[in-house]
């Protein structure tokens, strides 16, 4: 029997696991991801869950999905469209039918296509039985029944037994992709070690799924996706929010400053709070405030006291923090504000991604209130980006906004993580005590225009700061007309000078001069890179650059923009960076926008670029 099975080698594959929120699809996806990572594939993931924790069972609103793209070559995105779609019920099929390749494989749990489930999904006819799926390879299996059968003898309730059915799917896919299952068995042991019956059930069902593939003559093809060639080193799998939390701890260690986080829970930023709350052995203080205003103002208090102070949130919370951002700007104290962007306005699309808070970060405050902005471009890059935001903030005595987004916050990728010894020191010095008779000048400045960080407890440095306009150097309140204009310009200049302390902009792919530059920022990195690389291979004279420093821009950005005939700025918003670039460099940059709560697909970007260059 085994010799009738052919093994097909693939360079890459995209699998999506979709089911009801309660079907354990996120766990299944994560396990397959870890397995692929440990095996040595490069990969990208895209979890996509409903806004409601417990949306009605069986409905399209309650479908939870996890997409994974893995390969033996470099992978930059979670994949546009899947090769294999696993659907646990009718609603999952309905929600994802436009997301699978023609000719792709659909693995369907027939138990999820009974009359009740079809009705819940508003499907008039059973797609597994009519010929509406004739363009796909349909694999039907009664996962629910087979799961139950493999553990009939175990003393568990039916509900508990049914909860194992995601393991059947996982086992089957491990078989399909020729995988060892050790990591999942180890994971199950850790998770259910205290509940031997549940552990036994999960492991048995996992193995049942695997042997189902092995013993049923139905399946003739298995797949193999080889290890990717990646730079040598030690890797782990990382999600964006995890990387942000780690980067903050690293910045705290490297600056010698205690870390304080003031935060109020909000999707998709809460995981940063959750992670940091665990890191008490690093002396991290997390404060779940009563609202976002208290979150940021408590961080301002902690910063005044000499902590590396941080606040994390998403768009609506950012709106509430606006007034305090102005305060931090006038106080000229360090503060890192992290906005994990989601779809807006208002509550918007809480679980979906968007890049629509760039204007908010640039302009969203009263008065002239420039704040430096840093953006992260991939899950692992959140580590570097937040480390950089912290560095700028404490060295320049200024609040810094870090923009990430729901897509990279929850996406995962392999990460060749740094060693502590490889991370740069963040040098800072608090103001020194004053000798008797000397007068401390809280707004005296150095060449960066940065003022002293004078923390309470230091003799002779007693001083008062506040939101009223100040006189330079003395910090005294001043309503002088010329002083206000001077201070507004000075605070702007202070932001601009940061450009002297950040790296120059690099071209990520493609030639240094050419027909078109695709300029992106933030989480679109992978998709833009993948599209441009492929078009480069096809012979197009185009390049890609991704901005890390959104304010100020790197000094050479203007020069770079002049090296291309055309500039295309794709964004997951209605055109924000493009307007800032047009304004600042007076160039005719083109916008390309997608505002669907979804990341870019490589294919749509390629189509757009081809169209422009026609």
């Amino acid at each position: 029997m085994a010799d009738q099975i052919t093994i097909q080698e693939l360079e890459e594959a995209v699998i999506k696991f979709a089911g009801d929120s309660g079907d354990g699809m996120q766990l299944t996806g994560t396990q397959f991801t870890n397995n692929s990572a440990l095996f040595g594939n490069d990969l990208g993931t895209f979890p996509d869950f409903p806004a409601e924790i417990r949306a009605p069972i069986g409905t399209v609103a309650g479908v939870s999905g996890f997409q994974l793209h893995f390969g033996s070559k470099e992978i930059y995105t979670p994949g546009d469209i899947c090769d294999v779609l696993v659907v646990m019920n009718s609603a999952a099929l309905k929600a994802n039918i436009n997301n699978i390749k023609k000719g792709g494989i659909i693995i369907a749990n027939t138990a999820g296509f009974d009359a009740k489930n079809l009705k819940l999904a508003n499907m008039t006819s059973n797609a597994l039985e009519d010929d509406s799926l004739s363009n796909y390879q349909l694999i039907k299996m009664d996962i629910t029944r087979m799961t139950r059968e493999s553990i009939t003898d175990l003393q568990l309730g039916m509900k508990e037994k049914d909860r194992c059915k995601n393991m059947f799917v996982l086992g089957f896919l491990y078989w399909m992709y020729n995988r060892e299952m050790d990591n999942t068995i180890k994971f199950l042991n850790e998770k259910f070690g205290k509940k031997p019956e549940v552990l036994e059930a999960n492991i048995r069902v996992l193995k049942a799924g695997y042997s189902y593939g092995d013993t049923t003559e139905q399946f003739t093809t298995r797949y193999k996706v080889d290890k990717a060639v990646m730079p040598a080193g030690t890797y782990r799998s990382i999600m964006g929010n995890q990387a942000t939390a780690l980067g903050l701890v690293a910045a705290s260690k490297k600056s010698g400053l205690p870390l304080f986080l003031g935060s109020y829970p909000i999707t998709p930023a809460s995981d940063i709070l959750h992670d940091l709350a665990k890191y008490k052995s690093f002396g991290v203080k997390t404060f779940q405030a009563e609202d976002e205003i208290a979150a940021i103002t408590s961080a301002i208090g902690a910063s005044f006291g000499g902590s590396l102070a941080v606040t994390t949130t998403s768009g609506p919370g950012m709106a509430l923090k606006a007034e305090a951002l102005g305060l931090a700007t006038v106080l000229e104290i360090p503060l890192v504000i992290i906005n994990v962007q989601r779809g807006g306005p208002s509550t918007g699309l809480p679980t979906k991604t968007e890049q629509a808070d760039l204007f908010q970060a640039y302009y969203g405050r009263n008065g002239e209130c420039p704040i430096p902005i840093v953006a992260a471009q991939s899950p692992s890059d959140c580590f570097n980006a937040v480390f950089e935001a912290c560095r700028i903030s404490v060295q320049h005595m200024i609040p810094v906004i870090l923009l990430t987004d729901g897509y990279i916050a929850n996406g995962a990728e392999p990460w060749r993580f740094p060693k502590e010894s490889e991370l740069a020191e963040i040098k800072i010095e608090f103001a020194k005590p004053m000798a008797e008779g000397e007068k401390f000048m809280p707004y005296a400045r150095d060449e960066k225009l940065s003022r002293p960080w004078a923390i309470p407890g230091t003799k002779g440095l007693e001083h008062r700061i506040g939101g009223l306009e100040k006189q330079n150097i003395t910090g005294n309140i001043s309503y002088e007309p010329e002083n206000h204009e001077f201070m507004v310009k000075l605070r702007e200049e202070k932001v601009d000078r940061i450009a002297n302390y950040i790296p120059e902009q690099k071209i990520d792919s493609g030639p240094a001069k050419g027909k078109l530059l695709v300029l992106g920022w933030g989480g679109t990195y992978g998709a833009l890179k993948a599209a441009v690389r492929q078009l480069n291979e096809e012979g197009f004279d185009i390049a890609h650059a991704q901005l890390r420093h959104m304010r100020p821009f790197p000094k050479n950005l203007g020069e770079i923009l002049n090296n291309y005939d055309k500039i295309l700025i794709p964004e997951i918003n209605n055109g924000q960076l493009v307007k800032i670039i047009r304004d600042k460099y007076f160039i005719d940059a083109m916008a390309y926008n997608k505002i669907q709560g979804l990341p870019f697909f490589k294919s749509e970007l390629m189509d757009k670029i081809r169209e422009i260059l026609k």
């Binding site: 990572a37 052995s281 502590e420 309470p456 003799k459």
Partner: protein
């Protein structure tokens, strides 16, 4: 020789040391002056180094306070002083943190932060300058203005029911709740010292006269002619008495407080004995909040309503951290970054 050096470095502070070079901008006659003076008077008595004291304020006339006090200070934004102070105290438990706020700042726009600070019990001192008006914005009614108050924004009288700040603080489980007034320096100094000495959040409401927009709001408690009859000074373990000759007292009739006259046959032994530790009594006496014109009205209490001991937020926060470090050891960054599973690519 060595002794003289110690003597000069261990300098003794005086109220003058707490004055700044900034010109004070309050209206002449404003109650804020007296409060500033009493605070400057008690600060040298605390045995603290000047650099270890921080005053944080919000926005309002009262919130100008830090500019006039030679310590570390922050004049933050409207309503948020309590939140700024929470973060500072969490990060720096070693500092003596004082919050200056107004009835608008601390009970209207910042009401949320005030109650949350109190329940968390940070060891800070809240000085709530209650003038029953918005001073800085030139005279709108505030959340403590009485009903029917005619102010700029209520030309036909206010229809807002006012907050009872003391009852609110008790409701938020504050561990120290007291009231004083600008016009009684000795009492105010005493209450400031008690606030300072309390470990945990101290909520001190200070009746403050705004002579420009709400003059005489507290007249009946502060004027010599009426004070004795209208203000009830609570003293620990002493019966509640008031009146020109302390001839009147408060007696509990079940849960109902009634006024009795000692000169007309009532016995001192039957009077309510003030007990700051008694939450039930504190709840009752906090409700002595009716107006002078009210029939059978009760005098307004001043002093400490309630004090209890509860661990402070910052202590517990630090303890949790030390506990985790004691159990797991100091965190190792390399280990943290590596996480659970890793693999090597050659």
């Amino acid at each position: 020789m060595a002794e003289t050096i110690t003597a000069t470095t261990e300098q003794v502070l005086t109220p003058k040391d707490f004055a700044t070079d900034q010109e004070i901008r309050w209206c002449p006659g404003c109650g804020d002056y007296s409060i500033l003076k009493q605070v400057h008077t008690i600060l040298p008595q605390l045995g603290l180094k000047q650099e270890n004291i921080v005053f944080i304020s919000g926005i309002g006339c009262s919130s100008r306070f830090p500019y006039y006090t030679e310590t570390f200070g922050m004049h933050s934004i409207h309503g948020r002083a309590t939140a700024v102070a929470s973060g500072l105290k969490a990060a720096r438990p070693d500092l003596s943190v004082w919050i200056v706020t107004g009835d608008g700042d601390g009970l209207s726009i910042g009401g949320n932060h005030t109650i949350h600070l109190l329940r968390r019990n940070f060891d800070v001192n809240i000085l709530l300058f209650n003038n029953e008006i918005y001073g800085l914005t030139k005279g709108q009614y505030s959340p403590t203005s009485p009903e029917n108050k005619v102010a700029k924004s209520t030309p036909f009288g206010s229809i807002d029911h006012p907050f009872n700040p003391i009852a609110l603080a008790l409701g938020a489980d504050a561990t120290f709740v007291a009231r004083s007034m600008d016009r009684d320096p000795a009492h105010l100094q005493n209450m400031l010292l008690r606030s300072y000495k309390h470990s945990g959040s101290s909520f001190l409401e200070i009746y403050q006269n705004c002579n420009i927009f709400n003059d005489m709001a507290f007249e009946s408690y502060t004027e010599k002619s009426t004070k004795k009859d209208e203000a009830l000074f609570m003293v620990q373990s002493q019966p509640l008495v008031f009146g020109a000759n302390n001839e009147k007292g408060i007696k509990l009739d079940g849960f109902k407080p009634v006024i009795v006259n000692l000169e007309e046959g009532a016995s001192k032994n039957d009077l309510w004995i003030h007990d700051e530790k008694d939450m039930v009594k504190a709840q009752i006496i906090s409700r002595f909040f009716d107006h002078v014109d009210f029939e059978g009205h009760l005098p307004r209490p001043f002093g400490v309503f309630y004090q209890t001991a509860r661990p402070t937020y910052e202590e517990m926060m630090s303890q949790q951290i030390s506990q985790v470090i004691a159990n797991k050891g100091l965190g190792k960054l390399d280990k943290l970054i590596a996480g659970g599973e890793t693999w090597i690519i050659e």
